[in-house]
Symmetry: C4
Subunit: 231 residues, 4 copies
């Protein structure tokens, strides 16, 4: 499977799992060129095929668009790849259960070992602080850099009034994290309503995340099988 | 695709996306005659085909019913088209997550850019104020005019004890807004339970709405594909 | 379509709509004999076919079981038919959103016109008051009579620690009410969390219920089509 | 049907019913050797076939793995079978609605007769108390013994920061309990938000559990039919 084929599959997995709807996107850094990344043309992620995958440089220029429309927010990807040499894949979504956390400035914190990658909690990007009133989109390199700055060395940044961005050291890991960020958000809301929550502490979170990284193939196989069987 | 075919598709999209169930309806103003609109005969929206689409005048008279039963609430559509020259499509639904907002008089407010069309918030129609105790339906022109009056220049009016009505400058936009009004309601409830919510301010909302209007084809294609593939 | 065929369809509709799971049952009074009713043999309602439908007398005796196992709680049906000459169909379920209302003694109240049949609110049956500690099932005629007494002239009785029972003057109406009791419960919980709820008053509820009764064929057609197409 | 075939089916039922996702596992004690149990190789439970079922001794050694990878947490099963002669099947899952209860130390309590097996409430296992900071997994026999100790004679143990484990005297019963523990958790959260909850008392719970045990074939048939028809 080529990286473009795997990225198309990742798009469809994220749609099938409810992380993306008509919007949201996932990219992967090119294996052979660390200053290039793959990202679909402007379209609903659930419909992406390998032929829809374009190559971008880190400034967000498409190298092979041939007139095809590109995502307004491709700068999220380019600027994070520039700032974070360890990152090989990026998921930006409006994952539903995460939106209320972004809107209220409540950090996602790991409720169980599956979301150990959240560590001491997600960070927040408030676009008003850097650009005043906007349409909330990361539509230029400066906003991309500001978002990458807010992300810092974390795995997950919430974007107030918008959504979230999750990164990984592999495409499988970024997809896993995007899916479990959504799940953790849903369960965290329920736990907060029930009473005082005991979150994983930082050491537990780090150890759990390391263990989960040895099991990524298991979930990828399951999720991939679902979308492949459905055509 | 004719407007009747597109409207039949809109009916099925709204059912597939959970905005309408056995009830609710969507109409479109005729391209060639601004004092005419298309609306299905009285039936569950999820089953509507192009042959079920009738033409109405703004008084709610069906011009080609040929004995087929019509919706009791066709006056919602006629009176809004009369009052709002900018409106080309109207969705009336009992979209579930919106009902609790209508029942408590809580305005829908935009939690994220996808629902920028909500602007400074939805308005409320209290039928008791204009007609006392009723079956809550908009079953005559006077009630239709009262509802249109409450809607004013907004995109969304909540109807206490009943549902909501959303308008658009195109069928695609009205469908988009009905779907994201439902989504925003669900997420807004969750956010209110989490803490103090930072909604989009009016300028953010307006800018986000303008951007989203450039992306309507993307979601329409996704939603249409789903219902067409399912037959 | 015979009444047995229609009742089998009602079983599958209630399963498809999430009102019943592996448990719950729906009955219909016989057209030709008001002291007889039809009810499936002991099995999951989602799997019922016309051949699984048995005839019972009001004492809960199966007249044609031929060794087939019957529901422990058939007395719910018999005793309600005995007490309520107007009732032609009964649905007993553990409809999920209704369970928390039964467990907390919170009446279901109509949030919107679709559930006008709830009138001034559901009533509650506390089995402890009549029989002390039990397995909570209506497993004999005396408990059936006590439940029918609690139901009185209402449409809906909640059963603490157990579920609910809904009646109708036709099978279509009872199915409609069971589905919208579940929907109303879900939305009422959400509304209570949002703020002070304006329920339909008794006059609104009665008028809305009367209107809805003229539209029952619309939802029945939609729900039936779904289960028939799925085989 | 062999026990391995039945266990493969149980895996797929638990996935179809939302109790397990890519993780979680179910085991059954061998009929012919009480010191052996069957458990799938390390894989997503929704994909398990009879060929993926391995045999383990109570120390967690696979007797027929032939190089296939095994679950890190097989010690949950072995140590519970060792401690509880009455247990014939064990389900370990991250069943979603249960996670918030584990994270807040809120016991599951029976809201309705379907979950009478919860008795006076679930017990809690806090791994920090026995092992300090860990990745939260039951990855050795000592942790397995500690978990079995926390379970005691109960049916259900919540595991803080992790999930839950449910046991049964048959595979059908353990599957039933795992599914209704999830359902009860979801409904219990909703009930707590509504007001003061009247739970089943211990006698009611015991009587309801005894009755439900006579109906296990009904739900097993329904759940099995669903996954078999879907292939």
């Amino acid at each position: 499977m080529t990286l473009a084929e795997k990225l198309a599959l990742a798009n469809r997995i994220l749609y099938d799992q409810g992380v993306v709807d008509g919007f949201g996107h996932v990219s992967a850094r090119c294996d052979e060129a660390s200053d290039r990344f793959l990202l679909a043309r402007n379209m609903a992620p659930g419909l992406v095929t390998p032929d829809d995958i374009l190559t971008f440089d880190l400034d967000g220029n498409a190298l092979d668009a041939q007139g095809r429309r590109v995502y307004l927010e491709r700068f999220i990807h380019g600027e994070i790849y520039r700032a974070r040499a360890d990152v090989q894949a990026v998921v930006h979504s409006h994952s539903p259960s995460v939106i209320p956390f972004a809107a209220t400035g409540t950090p996602l914190r790991p409720l169980y070992h599956m979301s150990g990658f959240l560590g001491s909690g997600s960070v927040l990007f408030e676009i008003r602080d850097v650009a005043g009133n906007t349409d909330l989109l990361i539509r230029d390199p400066a906003l991309g850099r500001a978002l990458a700055g807010a992300l810092g060395s974390h795995s997950t940044v919430l974007m107030r009034g918008h959504g979230s961005t999750v990164v990984g050291t592999s495409l499988e890991q970024a997809v896993y994290r995007a899916i479990y960020a959504e799940t953790n958000a849903r369960l965290q809301s329920q736990a907060i309503a029930l009473g005082e929550v005991t979150y994983l502490n930082e050491q537990e979170a780090a150890m759990a995340a390391a263990t989960n990284d040895t099991q990524l193939a298991r979930t990828w196989e399951l999720w991939a099988r679902r979308v492949i069987e459905r055509g």
